[in-house]
């Protein structure tokens, strides 16, 4: 009986030693993901010239005057505004009161233009994603229609595109 009990005890001992052993350690870390929004312009149209009477009668529309690409990890909106309420005359005799509203912008493929003012106006909204996400890259059209109220000359106007989180 003793021998049997001893044998069982020895077997148990061996079994205890034969069990796979494991040892653990760990390391921890964090990932901080913050709002990231990026806007990029390409294919920008430069100087727009009024050379013929028809240019003044009808105004000038430049389709696809720029391509805007947005990358964002949050839903976004782009607004547009003029930097000042009037164009800045850059040549002798040019008018100092030509309003920014004679410059208007629209998304390519749409009919109505948005005349610019110093107050931001929404141009487009979109979903988070890279520039390749549907709707995150788009073209704009530009229209200038000063009529006959202002003197000939060179003018400049800053246009501000603002990309924000919705």
């Amino acid at each position: 009986m003793r021998l049997l009990l001893s044998a069982i005890l020895l077997m148990l001992s061996c079994a205890a030693m034969a069990q796979p052993k494991s040892f653990n350690g760990s390391s921890s870390g964090t990932i901080g993901v913050y709002s990231v929004l990026s806007i990029n312009f390409t294919n920008l149209t430069g100087v727009i010239s009024f050379n013929t009477p028809n240019d003044y009668f009808n105004g000038i529309t430049v389709n696809n005057s720029a391509t805007i690409a947005v990358k964002s990890n949050v839903n976004w909106q782009v607004s547009v505004a003029s930097q000042s309420s009037t164009f800045t005359p850059m040549s002798m005799g040019a008018s100092a009161d030509m309003p920014s509203s004679i410059l208007a912008i629209r998304r390519n493929g749409y009919t109505s233009f948005t005349p610019l003012s110093v107050n931001g106006q929404t141009l487009k909204t979109g979903n988070r994603g890279p520039a390749t996400t549907n709707g995150n890259t788009f073209d704009i059209d530009t229209r200038l229609d000063p009529g006959f109220s202002y003197s000939g000359g060179n003018y400049i106007l800053g246009v501000v595109f603002t990309l924000t989180q919705q």
Binding site: R2, L5, S6, L9, L10, L12, S13, A16, M17, P20, K21, S22, F23, N24, G25, S26, S27, S28, G29, T30, I31, G32, V33, Y34, S35, V36, S38, K71, S72, N73, V74, R128, G129, P130, T133
Partner: protein
């Protein structure tokens, strides 16, 4: 009978002692903060690597050993999709002369154990150096704070 009982108790004690003492152990040393920040297009579009991030110290005197790694915890803000996990363990180097079966390719961690190396039994303590990589998250990963814990397990047959 007493002799066998004492022998049994001693064997049990030795067995337990072997699992806990300095003959066999795994130690994880975090050499720097394992923190990633994604706050610019570049950091969202490219992998980020913390070089020399982790040292795994192994002593396996009694037997050969295998070492595994897995994510034991991964949490994030509401709406995040955990899988695929963006954390990779990248083998850098070792001073071990007893290593074998080292996984050299970047290892994308999951919640299941994956082998990272094996080592023949040895009296020596050896170091294994690893970089930690965050795969580019892109622009669809929800913003917020994420945390993770990597669990390393050394097993002996």
């Amino acid at each position: 009978m007493r002799l066998f009982l004492i022998t049994y108790l001693l064997l049990l004690f030795v067995s337990e002692a072997q699992a806990q003492n300095g003959n066999n152990y795994l130690e994880v040393i975090t050499n720097t903060g394992l923190n990633f920040n994604c706050n610019s297009p570049e950091t969202l579009e490219n992998d980020q690597t913390i070089n020399g991030a982790i040292t795994i110290r192994v002593r396996s005197r009694n037997n050969n050993c295998s070492v595994y790694a897995k994510l034991s915890s991964y949490t994030g803000p509401s709406g995040y999709m955990a899988f695929p996990y963006p954390i990779q363990l990248v083998y850098s180097s070792t001073n071990s002369s007893r290593a074998y079966g080292i996984v050299n390719a970047p290892l994308s961690l999951t919640t299941s154990d994956q082998l990272i190396f094996r080592q023949y039994s040895s009296n020596s303590v050896f170091n294994y150096y690893y970089n930690l990589r965050l795969k580019a998250l892109g622009y669809t990963y929800p913003i917020g704070q994420y945390s993770f814990t990597i669990l390393y397990t050394m097993t002996q047959p």
